[in-house]
Symmetry: C2
Subunit: 248 residues, 2 copies
Amino acid sequence: MAEQKRVCLTVAYDGTNYHGWQVQNNGITIESELNRCLTELLGEPIQVIGASRTDSGVHALGNIAVFDTTSPMPAEKFSYVLNQRLPEDIRIQRSEEVAGDWHPRRHASRKTYEYRIYRGEFPMPVRRLYTYFTYRPLDVDKMREAAAYLEGEHDFKSFCQVGSQAESTVRTIYSLQMEEQGPELVIRVCGSGFLYNMVRIIAGTLMEVGQGKLRPEDVEKILQAADRSAAGPTAPACGLTLIKYEFL
Amino acid sequence: MAEQKRVCLTVAYDGTNYHGWQVQNNGITIESELNRCLTELLGEPIQVIGASRTDSGVHALGNIAVFDTTSPMPAEKFSYVLNQRLPEDIRIQRSEEVAGDWHPRRHASRKTYEYRIYRGEFPMPVRRLYTYFTYRPLDVDKMREAAAYLEGEHDFKSFCQVGSQAESTVRTIYSLQMEEQGPELVIRVCGSGFLYNMVRIIAGTLMEVGQGKLRPEDVEKILQAADRSAAGPTAPACGLTLIKYEFL
């Protein structure tokens, strides 16, 4: 019998047709599809450990999952073999061996998310699943001003969904930038970690600033309030994509 | 009774779930959905006339359709009212009145199409419906060299699907450019008109050049052959998007 090894997968998916990452009783998830394909492939029960438990409808270019196996298959081959079994809206981008005690949620990392807003008079069908549509004008300069208050280390309790189990609500945002790509406005955020719904609440709050419902400087007060009801709404899931994990 | 007027629609759609533009007996099409919604809305049988009869799986940001009606509704309102009835993968971007004898296929126009290729080791799920995936390296400089032979007025018989009813196979390509957008290679072509499958055959031929199966200068001989079998394969539909019509 081959020695046990831990394999790390970089997982891309279109979240449209899934009930999020985490295994649930009432629907197919990214995690359940990975478990099913690995269990069928290896003939032993496999349960992956994921880095980010993305919500229903959220997309990823590079989420991370690990699993242990005694299979003699080289770690690098798993991407090819799994992609032949997975549905076409999930694709392993890379597979590699990691240390047996390496855990994707316990190892320090930088995470990058993008929230995309499609601005126009009417929605654009080919972008409907990957952007949030708004016909309301957004003042991007004001959104940039507001974003500056969120960069750095802060208590992001106001930007955390009520009911989250997080022990601490202090996180560090390394950068929070706005980029215009034609009709799309991309909010790109890179941080040490994110609380439950944090990126979507940041996006919802920045959009309120862009529409003039909040002033940029209000964001400082929202942070100080340490109260979810002080911030703007949670922006819809389809606009959100997990871009990448970088382990430090 | 109001006077009859001709209304012009700019139509965007995600072609994934349709049997192309043109009404067919065996499946739902963009044209059949427009006819259905307009007929229900106006209480009179409406048949639109489309500019480009795109194939199954091809997308559009701005196809054109016209119809006649005696409805007193201002032409500009049709976009709003139709978008409330159409499925979310079809959206009218603009509606306006045009002259009663204006015909979208008989009026001189410049058409722009994009063919998108996603280059990577594995497909990217969020782009799978809007790009053609290839893991083969493409020499973009050689593709640009080849593209230059196709610009201008030529007999494009080699780039026309056999069985097409076109009277003449002479067309003018105003520009044919390659743009790299990260992992995506965009072939953008602007012309006076395109024969059946012409853009997809151009894309398939340029990819053969990019892979070294054809030399750039072979494209000149392919044009001279005036024979479909001389050109490369027809690239898959999902990579193709009709970007816009400009009427001259």
